[in-house]
């Protein structure tokens, strides 16, 4: 009697063990597995862009006009700067933060882990803890790096923790992800000056996040008298459900932005 071949299950279990316990092998596998995603995303992007081509041409023309205006303004400001007595001091200020644009090529299908995969990685200069933004505010930070892609933990992930402060009153706390689209600002004093609608920004503590980046808006304040603490629910400013393109701050940019205490980044 012929015994059924057992090579496949044995091989499968061996590969499974390697994937679970051997990190370099896992990283290599993930790098290969992500290649088709990039290709699919690129093709989908082209197909989705096709209907918008006519309006894109108009928008492009308008943007070129605005760019020309900005260049003129920039030239005027440069000239003014040169003439100013404090010009010398101002030119010594740290350079504006630099960043690179990345596209979201994958999203987590696991509900308790709010992560996205970007098409930029170590080769483009990103490092672990690089800050990721979209037009509205902070999106998250890089937690895992690959040569040409990276895994980003969003601010709503249950493991996400960011030192944050209220822009109006400068009350400082810790913004913790709660795994369901909202964050909670914790470790606030019982008498903390905080109210609904307050803007929450990064506090710049801990090194990863530059000071002053927009995190979100307070939607509810919870004062716990017995424990003498206050917490607040915060709705993230970034549109985490519809992320397509994001800006990744490069490590030196993070440092210089922190020194300036600004949240602006240039591409």
């Amino acid at each position: 009697m012929r015994t059924p071949p057992r090579t496949v299950p044995i091989l499968a279990v061996a590969v499974a063990a390697l994937l679970v316990f051997h990190r370099p092998f896992r990283d290599l596998t993930l790098t290969f597995l992500r290649l088709p995603l990039t290709a699919v995303r690129a093709v989908a992007g082209v197909l989705l862009a096709l209907p918008h081509l006519p309006s894109l041409a108009q928008e492009n023309a308008a943007l070129r006009a605005r760019l020309a205006e900005r260049q003129l303004e920039s030239a005027r400001l440069r000239e003014l700067l040169r003439r100013t007595q404090q010009g010398q001091a101002l030119t010594k200020a740290p350079a504006a933060p630099r960043g690179i644009v990345a596209m979201v090529i994958g999203r987590s299908t696991i509900p308790t882990q709010h992560t996205v995969v970007l098409n930029q990685g170590e080769r483009q200069g990103l490092t672990v803890n690089s800050v990721i933004l979209d037009a509205a505010g902070v999106t998250g930070r890089v937690i895992d790096l690959f040569p040409s892609s990276c895994l980003v933990m969003l601010v709503t992930d249950p493991e996400s923790r960011i030192a944050a402060s209220i822009e109006r009153s400068r009350e400082t706390g810790l913004l913790a992800g709660r795994g369901r689209g909202h964050c909670e600002l914790i470790y606030l004093d019982a008498q903390a000056d905080i109210q609904e609608g307050d803007r929450v920004v990064t506090a710049g503590l801990g090194g990863s996040f530059p000071k002053g980046l927009v995190l979100g808006k307070v939607t509810r304040v919870v004062r716990d008298e017995p424990s003498g603490s206050t917490s607040a629910w915060v709705s993230p400013a970034a549109h985490l459900g519809q992320l397509e393109e994001v800006l990744c701050l490069l490590p030196d940019a993070t440092a210089s932005a922190g020194a300036r205490g600004e949240g602006r980044a240039t591409r």
């Binding site: 299908t109 509900p111 882990q113 709010h114 992560t115 992930d157 369901r180």
Partner: protein, 145 residues
């Protein structure tokens, strides 16, 4: 394997469209149960594929979740000895059970036990269970063609 790959691709595409992952049916699990239910002897390869796919977006507990999918595949493959796992009703029950186990496992790993999150978890299991007959019908229609 084609059903599984289709489900994985559809799951990822839906993840880009649906803003919250809690309202996303776990098509990966549906694909796994349907595929293993039809070919129980291939549970190892199918589970391995699903585990690799899920690992793409894992921030933590990669090993645990990978083993969770492997366990689901093994369980369906083993139950196929006694039950007709190609039957639509049994597959629906298996998806519900596996979905509930995986979701509760995820909540346990991340210590997410608040009432709203439990509600979202229940919604996810129900949405996944509700989608199973639709996926099954789609697969049957394709197979008949």
């Amino acid at each position: 394997m084609r059903v599984l790959i289709g489900c994985l691709a559809a799951h990822q595409l839906l993840a880009h469209v649906v803003p919250s992952p809690w309202w996303l049916p776990d098509l990966t699990l549906i694909g796994l149960v349907l595929s293993v239910g039809k070919a129980p002897q291939r549970w190892a390869v199918l589970s391995l594929t699903v585990g690799c796919f899920a690992m793409l977006w894992m921030a933590r507990w990669a090993g645990a979740i990978f083993l969770g999918y492997l366990l689901c595949g093994w369980a369906v493959g083993t139950l196929a000895r006694w039950w007709d796992t190609a039957d639509a009703r049994i597959q629906g029950c298996l998806v519900l059970a596996a979905g509930a186990a995986m979701t509760l496992g995820l909540l346990w790993l991340d210590h997410l036990w608040s009432l709203p999150v439990l509600g979202l978890a229940l919604a996810r299991v129900l949405v996944t269970g509700g989608c199973t007959p639709l996926v099954r019908r789609l697969v049957d229609t394709k197979a008949r063609r």
